[in-house]
């Protein structure tokens, strides 16, 4: 075999090239052979060799399949297609379909050749062109050549007709507007007898219905009778060897007709009634011992469940489903699980009956079946069965594969959150999941857990003790460690003194130094994880206040991180050791129990933030031990140090800086309004001139202190130093948005800028003078719509604020629609101090983020 390049030789034959490539023992050898062949082909291309173009193209295709680049051959395809002979065209079109795809511009050059070939006298050449067009045409080509294809639908040759019908499917997919052009031809083609034509036409009709509603209506009216006849004929037909598969005549036609019937019958009662009988016939008559029969039954059941079927028919479908589910064949069970998911919408009871089998499938050896079953279980959960189901799932979590654990954990967590009426049960499940699969638990899940624990004061003792025990045995689950460390820090004294024990608990003995040991262990074990270590440091600080005798020891542990290369840890270490050492006087008030985290607001915010795909808390460089709260409840303890300015109006830097807030329990406020908002530094909304007034309102009156350790500037928490000199402005009655119910408290324009107007209307309940319900209305004054609209508010300490979700997050332009949101405020110093509020609004316009903020001081008197 002479493989040397000889300019006069014709090169190797295809067969020989393949043989020599297969004979190569190493990859390098193969590359050498391929390189030689490519060189020969390239030479032949540049010489414009006619004779062996055909063979070279075949060789090129083989080389392409091996994975080598072959773009130098693309023009050759075009030349072959343009040639006159059938063999050249055949290989040319094949090369085209293999080497090119619709994104390449070279494809446009073929349009002319295609047009000529579509009009060729040789039916096989027409077929080649239709095939190529149907497989890879782009939208422009589709538009250009659609008239030719339409014409070919009327051809006399069935081979051409069926290819044209399938080609039309691609045209309609690429250019749905053309769907109406094909309606008529498609409907008339359904009268044909040739199975290939029928098959293609039925598929074309299905595609037309998807593309255009008009087509759907038209086909529904004109084709239904024909379809039923087709299905009946093929179902009843006697032995037809050409189409027979496993004793059934043309199962493919059965299936495609059933699919089209589903599309036509969906949502239409008359149509559904008309096809009722034939569906029943197919469902009962089809044998299900071979795959072909099962495929037909599957499609039939899907159709029954997709249309407005009679109850008798539905029962038939559910029975088939039951049979499939208990079949030993894995394929059939997989398909049954699929069907069950649709069946839930129709007959939940029937599906619940199969719950045990489905749970078995969750533990199946086959990962595909496990996945289906898990999704199904998730849909099946309701209030009555949630506890046993969760127990089964959590039990399985213990033994499941690593790659399945993540899915399973996510599902369990969302089930538990959705259906937990009983707090104790929720805590137990979460502790168990954290112990078994804490590493797969997502951050917002354990954040929610902390929020809940903070709200459930009677269960705090139980929580900290359970977590302590879990930590002893499952210390490698990171999320568990974080939650445990936080709890030990917060509720340390409950742990040591067995406070608020529940009936189900047994007393455990934990000394103060045991608690410190646990946190120290976590600190050492997770030397790589900054978040966990940061949380440990804070917990240690809290413990030094709760357990004074351990102060010295804690200080020594904390000080070890003084030289840590991570700035966060280093800072915390220095500051905390400084607190322990020098500021004993304020330490205890500094480290009081954290305020109750506002659960409802947190959940609302969490839902809103996932929806608005806002930066999650994970991105905040300083993860606060308090968990990422979204809104204070007015019980917020003002932060010291960098955040004298609550809404960060005066600084242009991104709100969350790398400087660590000096006091642990307070920095949640800083993160609060800094994170979760847009990346760009706050623009828009010029800081109001009354910044000073606001600073007094919410801060402790000290000037902003940057990253220092708490100095004497820092005022003790819980005390307000200055009174609030806010003068309510004259009430502004305008916009016609004043609420009629409250003449006493007129509507005000709370905020107005060039782009946005916010009005507040007020309602008070008689007998509750401190509480006010405010209805905020937002009007978009620009000509572009606002999306991802989020409104936030902050109030002084003596006021409590609760925000309900907004009516929508999209604000139409030019006041064409309004968004409303209601807030309720409780003024604990009603009568002495008026309401004041700072607001912040973020939204998107044409993809860009905007931010506006302002202060409202024109509340009507007496609120």
């Amino acid at each position: 075999m002479d493989l040397a390049i000889n300019p006069f030789s014709s090169g190797t034959r295809l067969r020989d090239m393949i043989r020599s490539i297969r004979a190569c023992k190493t990859a390098a050898e193969e590359r050498a052979v391929v390189r030689r062949e490519c060189a020969a082909i390239r030479a032949a291309i540049s010489e414009d060799d006619q004779d062996y173009r055909h063979r070279n193209m075949a060789k090129l295709m083989f080389i392409h399949m091996l994975g080598y680049p072959t773009h130098f051959g693309q023009m050759e395809c075009l030349k072959l297609i343009a040639a006159a002979g059938f063999p050249e065209k055949r290989i040319g079109y094949l090369g085209l379909m293999l080497l090119l795809d619709e994104r390449q511009e070279v494809l446009m050059l073929v349009t002319n050749s295609l047009k000529q070939d579509l009009n060729h006298s040789n039916q096989f050449i027409v077929g080649l062109a239709l095939c190529a067009l149907g497989n890879i045409c782009s939208a422009e080509m589709a538009r250009d050549l659609a008239p030719e294809v339409e014409r070919l639908l009327q051809s006399r040759d069935p081979n051409t007709k069926k290819k044209a019908a399938l080609c039309s499917i691609r045209i309609v997919r690429k250019v749905p507007d053309l769907a109406e052009n094909f309606m008529g031809s498609a409907a008339s083609l359904l009268k044909e007898k040739h199975h290939g034509v029928l098959l293609s036409t039925v598929q074309l009709c299905t595609e037309l219905c998807k593309a255009s509603n008009d087509a759907l209506e038209y086909l529904r009216k004109s084709c239904l009778e024909g379809l039923v006849r087709i299905l009946r004929d093929v179902s009843n037909s006697s032995y037809a060897p050409e189409y027979e598969v496993a004793g059934i005549t043309d199962p493919f036609l059965h299936i495609r007709v059933l699919k089209l019937m589903r599309t036509l019958g969906q949502g239409d009662a008359d149509c559904s009634e008309y096809i009722n009988d034939i569906l029943a016939q197919v469902a009962t008559k089809t044998e299900s011992n071979k795959n072909a029969g099962n495929a037909i039954l599957y499609e039939c059941v899907e159709t029954i469940m997709g249309i407005e079927a009679t109850s008798g028919l539905r029962v038939l479908a559910i029975n088939i489903l039951g049979r499939f589910l208990s079949n030993r064949d894995n394929n059939i069970r997989y398909v049954a699980l699929n069907m069950l998911m649709k069946a839930i919408a129709i007959d939940t009871q029937a599906v619940q009956r199969h719950r045990a089998t489905i749970l078995e499938c969750v533990k199946d050896a086959d990962v595909s079946i496990r996945k289906r079953a898990l999704e199904l279980v998730y849909l099946l959960v309701n209030d009555t069965n949630v506890k046993p189901l969760t127990k089964e799932l959590v039990d399985y979590l213990e033994v499941s594969d690593q790659d399945f654990k993540e899915d399973l954990t996510a599902r369990i967590c969302s089930i538990v959150e959705k259906f937990s009426q009983d707090k104790l049960w929720y805590l137990d499940q979460m502790f168990r999941v954290l112990s078994l699969a804490g590493n797969y638990v997502k951050d917002d899940v354990w954040h929610t857990l902390i929020v809940l624990m903070s709200n459930a004061s009677e269960l705090q003792g139980y929580s900290v003790r359970s977590l302590y025990k879990a930590f002893q045995s499952c210390g490698e689950q990171e999320s568990l460690v974080r939650v445990a460390v936080w709890c030990i820090g917060e509720y340390g004294e409950m742990l040591v003194n067995n406070i608020s024990m529940l009936n189900v608990e047994e007393p455990i003995t934990v000394t103060e130094s045991d608690a410190v040991d646990a946190v120290e262990l976590a600190l050492k074990r997770y030397s790589a994880d900054v978040t966990t270590r940061a949380m440990c440091l804070v917990a240690l600080l809290k413990l030094s206040s709760r357990f004074p005798p351990t102060s010295e020891r804690i200080k020594e542990i904390v000080v070890q991180n003084k030289g840590n290369t991570v700035l966060e840890l280093q800072q915390r270490s220095i500051e905390f050791s400084s607190i322990i050492q020098r500021h004993q006087s304020i330490k205890s008030s500094l480290l009081e129990r954290m305020p109750v985290l506002d659960q409802t607001n947190y959940l609302v915010k969490r839902a809103a933030s996932t929806q608005a795909t806002v930066l999650s808390v994970k991105s905040a460089p300083a993860v606060t031990p308090g968990g990422p709260l979204k809104l204070p409840n007015g019980v917020a303890k003002p932060p010291a140090a960098p955040l004298a300015d609550l809404l960060d109006l005066s600084s242009d830097d991104p709100p969350v800086t790398t400087s660590v807030p000096t006091t642990a329990p307070n920095d949640f406020l800083q993160d609060l309004l800094g994170i979760g908002l847009i990346d760009s530094s706050p623009t828009g909304g010029a800081p109001s001139a009354s910044t000073d007034i606001l600073m007094d309102l919410l801060s402790i009156g000290s000037s902003p202190v940057q990253n220092g350790p708490p100095t004497s500037n820092f005022s003790p928490l819980g005390k307000e130093t200055k009174s609030v000199p806010v003068t309510p402005q004259v009430v502004d009655l305008l916009d016609g948005l004043s609420s009629n119910e409250n003449a006493a408290y007129p509507t005000i324009t709370a905020f107005q800028s060039a782009t946005l107007r916010i009005t507040f209307s007020f309602k008070k309940q008689p007998g509750k003078p401190q509480e006010t319900t405010i209805n905020a209305t937002f009007t978009n004054l620009t000509t572009s719509t606002f999306t991802d609209f989020i409104f936030q508010a902050a109030v002084p300490k003596f006021i409590q604020l609760q925000l309900d979700p907004a009516s929508s997050s999209a604000l139409p332009a030019s006041g064409n629609g309004l968004v409303t949101q209601s807030l309720s405020v409780t003024n604990n110093q009603h009568g002495q101090k008026p309401l004041a509020m700072r607001i912040r609004v973020s939204y998107k316009v044409n993809g860009e983020d905007r931010l506006e903020q302002g202060q409202i001081s024109n509340f009507p008197a007496g609120l």
Binding site: G127, R170, H195, E242
Partner: protein, 161 residues
């Protein structure tokens, strides 16, 4: 619809690829690699369907070759299995007891057959005999053209002697 069809050997060598959805060339090799690893890792008793990137891949092993087809989640998986079997049976009748070697050396013919069975990712013809008739008719056209070409060159060669 069927998004792509893939034939791979047990060692992961690609024997045939046909794309009905526009995947760019670079992405194609990645896709092939991912799907191959996924399928070759499956044990023998498991079901023939795998979830992959939002679609479903239906595969069946015939001797040393895996036939894979990637479909929409809304499609009928059992029908796709039947389509694969349809294709294999036609190949078998065409080549006479087809084996992997036939498909290696005659890959272009395998493609021609596939093009008579699927267009735009949908089924074209459920009649095996009809498919074979069409493919053999086209083959004879090619043969006839070759004969003509060689007889022409013989005449010319003789004439120029």
């Amino acid at each position: 619809m069927i998004h792509f069809a893939l034939l791979i050997s047990r060692q992961g060598k690609v024997r045939l690829t046909k794309w009905y959805t526009p995947y760019p060339q670079k992405q194609r090799s990645k896709v092939i690699k991912e799907v191959s690893t996924l399928i070759l890792a499956r044990g023998p008793k498991l079901c023939n369907f795998v979830d992959w990137q939002g679609c479903r891949v239906v595969y069946k092993r015939y001797a040393s070759l895996y036939f894979c087809m990637c479909i929409d989640p809304a499609d009928n998986e059992l029908e796709t299995l039947q389509i694969i079997h349809h294709f294999v049976e036609i190949l078998d009748r065409y080549f006479g007891n087809v084996c992997e070697l036939d498909l290696i050396f005659n890959f272009h013919k395998a493609y021609f057959i596939l093009d008579e069975i699927l267009i735009a990712g949908e089924l074209q013809e459920s009649n095996k005999k009809a498919v074979l008739r069409l493919v053999t008719a086209q083959d004879s056209l090619v043969e006839a053209a070759k004969e003509e070409a060689s007889s022409l060159s013989k005449i010319i060669a003789q004439a120029t002697k």
